[in-house]
Symmetry: C2
Subunit: 361 residues, 2 copies
Amino acid sequence: MFENRVFNFSAGPSMLPETVLEQAQKELLNYQGSGMSILEMSHRSKVYDAVIVAAEAELRRVMNIPENYKVLFLQGGATLQFAAVAMNLMTKNGKADYIVTGSFSKKAAKEAKKYGDVHIAGSTESENFCRIPRQSELDLRPDADYVHICFNNTIYGTHWDYIPETGNVPLVADMSSCILSEEVDVSKFGLIYAGAQKNMAPAGLTIVIVREDLIGNAMPTTPVVMDYKELADANSMYNTPPTFPIYIAKLVCEWIASIGGIKALNVINVRKAKALYDFLDGSKLFKNTVSPESRSLMNVTFKTGDEALDAKFVKEAAEVGLLTLKGHRAVGGMRASIYNAVPEEGVMKLIEFMKEFEQAN
Amino acid sequence: MFENRVFNFSAGPSMLPETVLEQAQKELLNYQGSGMSILEMSHRSKVYDAVIVAAEAELRRVMNIPENYKVLFLQGGATLQFAAVAMNLMTKNGKADYIVTGSFSKKAAKEAKKYGDVHIAGSTESENFCRIPRQSELDLRPDADYVHICFNNTIYGTHWDYIPETGNVPLVADMSSCILSEEVDVSKFGLIYAGAQKNMAPAGLTIVIVREDLIGNAMPTTPVVMDYKELADANSMYNTPPTFPIYIAKLVCEWIASIGGIKALNVINVRKAKALYDFLDGSKLFKNTVSPESRSLMNVTFKTGDEALDAKFVKEAAEVGLLTLKGHRAVGGMRASIYNAVPEEGVMKLIEFMKEFEQAN
C-alpha cells in the first residue's frame, strides 16, 4: 500500500490497482519515450493507436470475447447507452422487454420508452429489489427485439445468479458494476455494455460489446456517435475517444492477466464477499437483506436498522481509513463496494472494524 | 521544458501546460491528502465536489461568463453536441440556419437535418473553405430557432474575425479549437460548446455554456443525458461526469489566471501566430492560402505545393522534435496547431527549421 492510502469502498468511481496507478504516474510526463504525455497525444498518432489496439486485444483476451462481436470504446456512460441500445436495436418490431431489478434497470426502461414499445417482463420492485426474479416469473414476448437486464445492481447489492433464457431474442445486459469480476459467456448475450468507472478505468469510458448481426439498423434519428455501425466502422474513432481512460483500461486488463485472469480474480472476489456475508449472517447488529441466491460479489449492502447508528458507523469507519461506506439514499444504511481493485486486506479490516463496532454499540 | 520533451503541434488532443502535467503527476496517487487518487474518487464525494465547483468557478472567471448562463461538463465530444443542440433548441419553429465554413460545421448541419429544417445560410465550400463569409453574404431566416457557426475551423485554419449579427435569433458556436485562446463576449451567444481536448483538458470532456432561457424545451426523444434541463438541474451530475478531465480543466484555468488571464494569453497567441504568418508571407517555398482576415490564431496551415516535399518536411521536422505537423487529409500539406500550451519557443523553433528547410530545398 502507498503511504497514507485508504481503503475506498466507493460504488464508483472506485479503487484502481496500485501498480496501474504507479505506472500511470511514472509515465505521465513522457509516454514511452514519445516526448509527450498520454494526455496530449493525437488519438490518430501511431503511438496512441498501439494503445487502443492493445486495450481491445487485452479486453478480448481476458473476457474471451468471440470474434463475431465488436468492442466499442465510447463516452456518455451507461445512461447514454440506455437510449443507444433502444435506438440501435428496437428497430425490427419496435418492442423490447425490460426486467427491472433496481434503479438503473428502471431508468433504462424509462429511457427506452422514448423510442418504442417497452414491456416490463419482470420486476422485484414491490419487494424493494431484494432479489432477482426467477425464470418462471418472467413474462417475455417472443417478438421483442431484445430483452434488457442489469446484471449487477450496484445500489441494492444484487446480482443475476443465472442467465435468463430468452429463446431467439437477443439478451442485452448492463454490466457496469460487475464487468471483469467473473467469467461470463459473452456468446449468451447479444450486447453487453458497461460504464468503466467501477471495475475497469476512471470515469469517462463506456464499453459496448455487440454481436455483429445486431449492428446496422439504427433509427434515422440516432445521433451519429450513438450509431453502432458508424462507431464500429470507425474503430471507436468516429470522433475523439476518451484516450486516457482507454489507456488505463489497457493497464487494468494487463494487471488482470498478470494475476491469472478473471478466473483467478473471481476466486479472490468470492473469498472477499463470502467473508463479509458470513460475518453479516452471524452478526446481531448488522443485517444484509438480500436473498442469498441474489447476492452481489461487488456491492454488499448492510444496515443496523438504526439510522443514527448507521451514520455513526460510517463516520467512525472513515476515521480508521475505511471510506465511502454510506449506502445509496434509495436504500439507506451502508454499502461496501468491493470491486476487483479493493484489496482482500481492506475487506478483512472492514470486518474487524465491524466486529469492534458491534461490541462497542 | 521536461527532459526529452517535444514540441507537439497536434490538432487535438494536444499539449498541456507543463505545470499542469507536473501537478497532476505529483498528486496522482494521493489527491490532497485524501488517501486516494483523483481517478478513484466518487464524483459525489465532498473532496471531488470541491474540484468540479472550482472548475466551474475558474472557467466562469477566466471567460467572464454572465450569471444567466449555465456551464455544463459533459461527455461525447462536440459531435454529440451537433445532435444535442438541435434536439434541445430546434423546437420552437423546427428550423435552424447553419453557416458552413469547414468539415465540422458541415457535419453539424448534416446531423441537425435529422431533427428539423436546416438551411445553409452561408458557405465557402466552393472556395475550399479558404475564408469566412462576410455578413452581407449570409442568408439568415428571421424565424430560425438558432444560427450555428464553427468559430474556428481546425482543419482549414480559419477563424471568424467578427461575430455575425443574427437579430433576435440565438447564435450557437462550436468553439472547440479556440476556446480560452481569446476574449469572447459570451453574451453575444445563445450557446457555446467545445470539445475540451484542444485547449483545455485531455479528451473526454465537452463544455456547454448555455443561456438559461434556451434550456427546457428538448424534444421528447432526446436522450436524458443530452437534455440540457436534466443536466443543468443536476449540476452536470445526472450520471458520472468525466472526473479527471474536469480536474485538469480546473488546473488549466488556474494556469491561465496565473499568467494574467485570457487577455494576456491572447497577446502571446497573437505574437506566435503573427511570427508564423509573417514568415509564410515572405517565404518562397511555403504558402498559406487562407484569406488574411480569416486566419486562425490556433491552426496555421501551409504547404509547398509539392506533396513529396511536404512529406519530407513533416519527416525531418519530427526528427528535430517538431511533431504532428502533417495537415488533415482533406487539405494536405502541413498544419501547426499552436494552442495556448504550445510554448512561443516551439513556434520560433518551427520557423527556424522552416527557414533551414527552405534554404536546403
